[in-house]
């Protein structure tokens, strides 16, 4: 089945220690998104790639970076995680960038910061 895969499902890191979360897709979609979802809150868009074009949300902290080396993979790098970065991180894809495009979500990676 075509899908969005996130690894690992659970990630524990130490305060200030860089961490990378991974997302891959077999849907061959052009757009890949990263969302942050804190407990009891709505998912919040951090940034997205349309093909190789990176689009950062205005309020995404500089601490968060992303890479998309090819169509299938996208990475979320947190350079110096703080306690406030503990959250579920969701990856999503869509065929196109317009508002009519359904987004397909991965299972998420739950990040714990010690």
């Amino acid at each position: 089945d075509a899908m969005v895969i996130q690894n690992p499902r659970y990630q524990v890191t130490q305060f200030g220690k860089p961490v990378t979360l991974s997302c891959s897709q077999t849907l061959n979609h052009n757009v890949m998104y990263w969302y942050q979802q804190k407990s009891s809150q709505a998912p919040k868009l951090l940034f997205h790639y349309y093909d190789k074009d990176f689009n950062n949300e205005a309020d995404t902290p500089d601490n968060f970076q992303s890479r998309r080396p090819n169509t299938s993979f996208c990475f979320l790098d947190i350079r110096s995680p703080g306690l406030g970065d503990a959250a579920m991180y969701l990856c999503a894809t869509s065929r196109g960038q317009g508002s009519y495009n359904e987004q397909f979500f991965g299972p998420g990676t739950r990040l714990t910061v010690l």
């Binding site: 969005v4 009891s40 709505a42 919040k44 689009n55 196109g96 960038q97 508002s99 009519y100």
Partner: protein, 113 residues
């Protein structure tokens, strides 16, 4: 700024009860509307969507939603819930060319067998 409001944070129902989850959004222009569901331990998946046309849309698993433009609402309904409907439900709005989804905070539905 655009926002989405889901009025109920946690709803508890018995099986066969009827369900209505409220969703209101703030945006004056054309919107596309979505309901997503997240079953325990699973990923977010699309229940239904509204782009245009008939304001009453039907989705998977017997769910439907009604878009009422004058009320800026897109409430989710199901006539008779099942235990397997226990999940978290998210309303989302997309009002920009860039495809940015704005999510509500979610409603946790617990269905008692």
């Amino acid at each position: 700024a655009q926002s989405v409001s889901q009025h109920n944070h946690h709803v508890i129902l018995s099986e066969a009860a009827s369900l209505e989850l409220g969703c209101n959004y703030s945006y004056g222009g054309t919107v596309n509307l979505f309901w997503y569901v997240q079953y325990p331990g699973q990923h977010l998946q699309l229940l239904l969507k509204y782009f245009s046309g008939d304001p009453l849309v039907k989705g998977i698993k017997g769910f439907e939603a009604e878009f009422i433009k004058s009320k800026f609402s897109f409430n989710l309904r199901k006539p008779s819930v099942q235990w397997s409907d226990t999940a978290e439900y998210f309303c989302a709005v997309n009002a920009e060319q860039g495809g940015k989804l704005i999510f509500g905070q979610g409603t946790e539905l617990s269905v008692k067998p």
